[in-house]
């Protein structure tokens, strides 16, 4: 197996003086999708934001063998870390085309081609302001902003949050296509989507890693799912508080 | 339970004050020393213009005391509750001009006139504060600035009432004999000292009250206060009104000391001066505000004397022009303090005595004040 693309070791982060991530360590393999799981508010989004330097953090982060934990956010991204934030965060006042133009670093024909192929909708709506799009379309813009560049890894935060089931499938398919070319670290609540995309899972609890392993193994074990993720694998399963 | 988080957060501050009575003891010592100054002949060349028993020196020291009291009231607003106001001078001016107009137009005695002037200012603070606190942060700063500016315009325009650009003189008909005239400067000085100590006590009392803890908590985390079921708005408004009332009280004494007031006391520059004093002394520190007021007032006076001196007049233009403008030097000094001495004088003293940790706390406090 090849070296991991992203190594996180002893990562801690604070928001307004409050510890939100504590001593988290995990790796993202150079291929496929790694899912970062855990109950709500457990620090998944904060972990991703800490890796990007969007919040104050300590610890080691390596991208393809080079340390990036001291770099400012824009330099980290320039080194090939694509980011699809929670809640999409498209620029509502900008058009779809402008959103993409802003994100594009250099001109990568394959990136553009991939976006055009995955999201034909966006090509049609490129002159429309992103704020006037539906939630699903905004999510496509957000993903497209990451795919348009050649990246070493993508950090994708809750891409299906608040989307209609049909759109969820589109987003998952798009991510599956993207994963053929670039490894992805995925935060996702929808276990169906995790099952479809992820090979490996990392589970956080109160800001720490409590489980690591193949995705299928965890998802096929209802007890573990309930215990670690606080979701009922089957209706009627008992609440698994620790 | 509700206010438990606040003291915990202020651990650094608590540690310095240690026992609750420590600041009060310090205040007693300060008050005692300051109280006997007019009876002594202490000379500090370069700092004071003459020995401490002379009216000229006492006048300057009384001004220091008044600005210290005013800075303390501003500290309550900015340092404690994190409200950056650019209109605090308005309430100071309301006190000064309110007293002046009442003494001139009515037969009220000094004390009732002061009480009414402060009451009027408090009422206006309540109304304007309620509107200004509709917004927070920088918008709040701008809105308070706008209101103060309107006050300034009113004072300048309505010369029939306020004397306009000429300023308003103290009408001494109903002012007690012992507060009038150059020879009685030391009595006014003592009154100013009493006012400073009174303002200090109110500030300490407020900061220790439940409302004060909530004010600090809402500066740090408005959401948490809301979760606790308290309305930050009410507490902020209360802080705003108390700080304004204290400023008005200070303004009335200022009016007596200076035997009048000019529109400069209403200007935005005057509020900015206060901001400079508080930041110079150290945001969030009561003693910082007091020390800052002394340093600023004395420096301003000395620099003005220096600017008019022959030594400066003989310099080439490139040096003479900047040196002959006290505000240029003070402004530059202020910039340097903000850039290189976070925590101001108080922060530097604390850093010297207890290592680097406190600086960070001071900087965080400044940040959180936003």
């Amino acid at each position: 197996m090849s070296a991991p693309v992203l190594v996180v070791e002893g990562l801690s982060a604070r928001i307004a003086g409050q510890q939100v991530v504590e001593d988290v360590s995990f790796e993202v393999p150079a291929r496929g999708v790694t899912a970062l799981l855990g109950r709500n508010g457990v620090g998944k989004t904060s972990t991703i934001r800490a890796v990007l330097g969007l919040i104050e953090r300590r610890g080691l982060v390596e991208l393809a063998g080079e340390r990036i934990d001291a770099l400012p956010t824009h330099r980290i991204v320039q080194r090939g870390v694509g980011y699809v934030p929670e809640d999409r965060e498209v620029f509502g006042g900008l058009t779809v085309a402008e959103n993409l133009r802003l994100a594009e670093r250099g001109s990568d024909a394959t990136g553009r081609e991939l976006v055009r192929e995955l999201f034909p909708d966006l090509v049609e709506r490129q002159a429309q302001s992103a704020g006037s799009l539906s939630g699903g379309q905004q999510q496509m813009v957000s993903i497209a902003r990451a795919l348009i560049n050649r990246n070493a890894v993508l950090l994708v935060d809750e891409p299906t949050k608040g989307l209609a089931p049909l759109i969820v499938k589109d987003v998952a398919d798009a991510l599956a296509r993207a994963a053929e070319a670039v490894p992805i670290l995925l935060v996702e609540q929808n276990l169906q989507v995790v099952r479809q995309l992820a090979e490996t899972v990392v589970v956080l609890e109160s800001g720490r890693v409590v489980h690591r392993g193949p995705a299928a193994e965890l998802l096929d074990d209802p007890d573990a799912t309930t215990r670690l993720l606080g979701v009922h694998a089957e209706p009627g399963a008992e609440e698994g508080e620790r | 339970m509700t206010d438990a988080p606040a003291p915990a957060r202020r651990a650094g501050w608590i540690r310095i004050t240690r026992a609750g009575w420590f600041p009060l003891a310090l205040a007693v010592v300060f008050g005692a020393v300051a109280a006997v100054l007019p009876l002594l002949a202490i000379e500090i060349p370069g700092v004071l213009p003459g020995p401490t028993y002379l009216p000229g020196t006492l006048q300057l020291l009384a001004l220091c005391l008044i600005f210290a009291a005013l800075a303390l009231s501003y500290h309550l607003l900015f340092g404690t509750a994190g409200m950056l106001s650019f209109g605090h001078a308005l309430y100071f001016a309301l006190g000064a001009y309110g007293l002046g107009v009442l003494l001139q137009r009515t037969d009220l005695g000094l004390v009732p006139a002061i009480a009414i002037a402060v009451a009027i200012a408090t009422g206006i603070a309540l109304a304007l504060g309620a509107v200004s606190l509709r917004v927070a942060g920088i918008s709040f700063a701008m809105v308070t600035l706008a209101f103060a500016q309107a006050g300034s315009v009113l004072v300048r325009r309505n010369a029939w009432l306020t004397g306009g650009e000429e300023g308003l003189r103290l009408d001494t008909r109903n002012v007690p004999e012992f507060l009038i005239g150059v020879l009685n400067t030391r009595n006014v000085y003592w009154v100013a000292l009493v006012v400073l100590l009174a303002v200090f006590l109110v500030v300490v009392w407020f900061e220790r009250s439940r409302a004060g803890h909530v004010a600090v908590a809402s500066r740090e985390n408005e959401l948490r206060v809301r979760v606790l079921g308290l309305r930050p708005f009410t507490v902020k408004l209360l802080t705003f009104v108390i700080a304004s009332a204290l400023a008005a009280l200070t303004g009335t004494i200022y009016f007596v000391l200076q035997s009048g007031a000019t529109p400069r006391a209403t200007s935005a520059d005057f509020t900015l001066t206060l901001l400079v004093i508080v930041v110079l002394g150290g945001v969030g520190s009561r003693w910082g505000a007091v020390v800052g007021a002394f340093v600023y007032t004395l420096l301003d006076q000395r620099l003005t004397a220096f600017a008019a001196s022959d030594a400066v007049a003989g310099l080439p233009d490139a040096l003479r022009i900047p040196l002959s403008e006290p505000l240029f030097i003070l402004g530059t000094l202020f910039i340097l303090v903000v850039l290189f001495l976070p925590g101001g004088i108080a922060g530097t003293v604390r850093r010297a005595s207890s290592g680097r940790r406190v600086t960070r706390a001071a900087r965080e406090r400044l940040e959180e004040a936003e």
């Binding site: 402008e98 802003l102 994100a103 | 200004s132 917004v135 927070a136 918008s139 701008m142 900087r363 400044l366």
Partner: protein, 292 residues
């Protein structure tokens, strides 16, 4: 009728001045969260630079006026860019301290201007055409009003075009909306900071030269007095909104003119308007959510 037209056009002229100051304030605040108290000094410096140049070129000719406008905006831009690079940048993300530094800068520079040019207003001369009037719908309107309105309109168009058609403009528009996300797209936003400061400074410097002709004099206090109204305009228009600033500039200035003419209370009406807007719409006419 003619009075109304005169007040309207004069108000528009004053609004143009407000806009030249407020546009920069609003852009700087929108992108960086900095309330720039030194903005008035950029204006004053531009005005003095323009005045000095025009004086050396012989005062009241058209080329001298145009040269002074160009120099005024260049000096304003330079001063603003230096302020950002030397002072603001050191305090990255520490908004209160950034405001404090601009407060100190404004105090120091106004004092310096007084030291250099004195405390009294200095009267400026302009091409004769400036002082003449043109008849419009029965009202005799001083010509400088038209120049003001024209220049402000050009500046508005220029800034809008810059924002719309350049890469920096794109970054600035996105940054006003959501700055962290711009950095998360691999863009160093800080370079855009210098650009907005320079643009704001240029507009202010240009406004300074025009203000000296509108009021007929230049003084160290020129910028400070306009700045307060520009603050009010930016709050009413909505912090960070350029079009909000444009609309509010016109509304505030026209209202001020009318209230001044009929009741002599223009400044108070403006403050009342501010209070009213805050009560009804705390975020301003076109503002985003209230910045807490």
């Amino acid at each position: 009728m003619s009075t109304i037209v005169l007040l309207l056009v004069t108000g528009l002229g004053l609004g143009a001045l407000y806009f030249l100051v407020a546009s920069g304030l609003s852009l700087i605040y929108g992108l960086m969260g900095v309330l720039n108290f030194a903005h008035g000094s950029f204006l004053t410096l531009g005005a003095f630079a323009g005045f000095e140049l025009a004086r050396r070129l012989g005062g009241d000719s058209w080329p001298a006026l145009i040269a002074s406008l160009v120099l005024g905006s260049a000096v304003g831009a330079l001063a603003a860019a230096l302020t950002e690079l030397l002072l603001i940048r050191r305090l990255y993300e520490r908004h209160i301290e950034q405001v404090l530094v601009t407060v100190g800068l404004s105090l120091a520079t106004v004092a310096l201007f007084e030291g250099i040019w004195g405390t009294d207003p200095i009267y400026v001369s302009a091409p004769a055409w400036f002082g003449q009037t043109t008849e419009l719908l029965g009202a005799r309107i001083p010509n400088d009003r038209f120049v003001l309105i024209g220049v402000a309109a050009l500046v508005l168009l220029g800034i809008v075009a810059f924002l719309r058609f350049t890469r920096y403009g794109l970054i600035i528009r996105a940054g006003v909306e959501n700055r962290p996300m711009v950095t998360a797209l691999g863009i160093d936003v800080r370079r855009a900071f210098t650009v907005v400061f320079a643009i704001g400074g240029a507009a202010a410097g240009l406004g300074g030269v025009l203000a000296s002709h509108y009021f007929g004099y230049v003084s160290a206090q020129l910028g400070g007095s306009l700045l307060i109204f520009a603050f009010i305009v930016t709050v009413i228009g909505g912090l960070g909104s350029l079009s909000g600033a444009a609309i509010a500039s016109v509304v505030v200035a026209v209202l001020q003119q009318f209230a001044n003419f009929y009741w002599g209370v223009g400044d108070l009406v403006v403050v009342l308007l501010l209070a009213g807007v805050l009560l009804l719409r705390p975020a301003g006419i076109l503002g985003k959510k209230v910045h807490a």
